[in-house]
């Protein structure tokens, strides 16, 4: 097991409101962790701190074994993390599905042909092969979410971070997301309120409360944990 994320003594506040103080957290390869907690407990803030989208006032963030402080260091790490945002509309900004999936790979310096191949492979994994030239705007919410997940996967990341991937989705869409997550073979950190979804896709959960981590006891309904371990 390799340590992917290691946070030590982190502090962060929005103005006067302190969210984290002396916060520590770790995440390793092979883990599929659910992050739960009440609204406003800092889940989204934590995810954005990990991505370097917010800057902590103190503390150390280590990603993939290297400390990250500057924008350049974070940028290098970001390209190895597939981040799925809460609102798929925020994530999908290109005209067509194919363009959106190609955006990350192209930014990483891939050629058009390589990007095209990645797009095709990703669409196949998502079971959306016919969607390549569809205009993003016309997709259903569930399809948008799947494509958003695809844009993260298309970057061939070492891990995924998902911020509430199932809000506002119907059961069928949740099911498709869960299937892709289980099939992709990557470690991930997922924030969700939906217990049944979490039980299906994670091997363990942690609860954020008052700026610290509490290990969540496994629930009895958590079936087949062994089969889900990577």
């Amino acid at each position: 097991m390799e340590t992917l994320i290691s946070i030590t003594n982190l502090s962060f506040a929005y103005g006067q409101r302190v969210v984290f103080k002396d916060f520590s957290f770790g995440f390793s390869s092979g883990q599929r962790t659910g992050l739960v907690g009440s609204n406003g407990c800092g889940k989204s803030t934590l995810l954005q701190l990990i991505m370097g989208l917010l800057k902590p006032s103190a503390g150390e963030i280590e990603l993939f074994g290297k400390p990250r402080r500057t924008e350049k260091e974070f940028r290098e790490a970001r390209l190895q993390i597939g981040f799925v945002f809460q609102d798929a509309n925020d994530q999908l900004f290109c005209p067509t599905v194919g363009d959106d999936l190609a955006f990350g790979p192209l930014n990483m310096g891939k050629t058009m042909e390589e990007a095209e191949a990645i797009v095709d492979g990703t669409l196949e994994l998502l079971n959306l092969s016919a969607f390549k030239d569809r205009v993003t705007y016309n997709l259903s919410d569930g399809e948008k979410k799947l494509v958003a997940l695809g844009t993260a996967l298309a970057m061939r990341p070492r891990m995924l971070i998902l911020d509430e991937p199932t809000t506002c989705l119907d059961e069928e869409a949740c099911d498709r997301i869960a299937k892709v997550l289980l099939a992709c073979g990557l470690p991930y950190l997922v924030v969700a309120h939906d217990r049944s979804f979490l039980d299906r896709v994670v091997t363990g959960s942690v609860r954020l409360k008052d700026g610290r981590v509490i290990a969540e006891p496994p629930r009895e309904s958590n079936g087949r944990p062994g089969s889900q371990a990577a």
């Binding site: 509309n89 290109c94 194919g98 190609a102 955006f103 205009v135 705007y137 844009t151």
Partner: protein, 262 residues
């Protein structure tokens, strides 16, 4: 109030003309150049002779584009409401130097005024129809990608692409806000209360959009955004592009001839 609501309910009409017509297959770079040249030339015309030819040519183009009839009629109505105002004003605008052809009360209708109103209406419709046929048959993002190839400023191309995308999202948000207001009995009008409602609506829209702007930026940075919005559109000149260019050239000559003969 009902009319003003309707105009806002279907703002995004892209796609009406995107069928399999010949025009849809023409290279978007060629289209942009031709549409701009056409607009310039037609707006330059001084005589109704050339303008009639231009209108005929534009009608031919829109037929070639196989534009859906209902959508076309709606568009033409909107455009011509503007020209209707011209018809209400221009005929009476040359009281001193003009040839008076009729008198309505204190107002004198002059031939010069009528000619000018005719000319502007012809030119306006000729431009609208042709630009619809030429540019309306390509998706906006393809036009943007073509503009990038034509060396339009990269920042403008990026702005255009993202604005089109988020206009769709934000307009939906606007409609939700509007519905919620209407559910509470809000009516648009000229009262103090109504203007306050409108202002709060605009304010909410701006605040929400600003928050969204930050989220979009973060999502883009997470995927390594470095300033370019890529579009995977391929551009290669084909026979059809040459044919279209020749047709447009012929139309330019015809319109020019009509103008010359006046």
């Amino acid at each position: 109030m009902a009319e003003s609501e309707n105009t806002a309910s279907a703002p995004f009409q892209e796609g009406a003309g995107q069928n399999s017509s010949i025009l849809a297959r023409v290279d978007a770079r060629v289209k942009i150049v031709c549409a701009v040249l056409w607009s310039l030339m037609v707006s330059w015309l001084h005589g109704t002779g050339g303008a009639w030819v231009a209108l005929a040519a534009a009608v031919a183009l829109i037929a070639l584009a196989r534009w859906p009839r209902r959508n076309l009629i709606n568009r033409l109505l909107t455009v011509n409401i503007f020209f209707m105002f011209m018809w209400l004003m221009l005929p009476f605008s040359f009281s001193s130097p003009g040839h008076v052809v009729a008198t309505i009360g204190p107002l004198k209708v002059t031939r010069e005024g009528l000619d000018l109103a005719t000319l502007l209406t012809l030119k306006g419709n000729a431009i609208v129809l042709a630009v619809l046929a030429i540019l309306g048959t390509s998706p906006l993002y393809v036009l943007a990608a073509a503009g990038r190839r034509l060396r339009f400023p990269e920042k403008l191309v990026g702005l255009f692409l993202l604005t089109v995308r988020y206009y769709q999202v934000i307009f939906k948000e606007y409609q939700r806000l509007r519905k919620a207001m209407r559910a509470r009995g809000f009516k648009l009008g000229l009262s103090r209360n109504s203007l306050r409602g409108v202002s709060n609506l605009v304010g909410s829209l701006l605040v929400r959009s600003f928050d969204r702007a930050e989220r979009v930026h973060r999502a883009m940075v997470s995927r390594g955004y470095m300033g370019i919005i890529w579009v995977r559109a391929e551009f290669r000149l084909k026979g059809i592009d040459l044919a279209f260019t020749l047709v447009m050239l012929a139309l330019f000559v015809l319109v020019g001839g009509g103008e010359w003969k006046r």
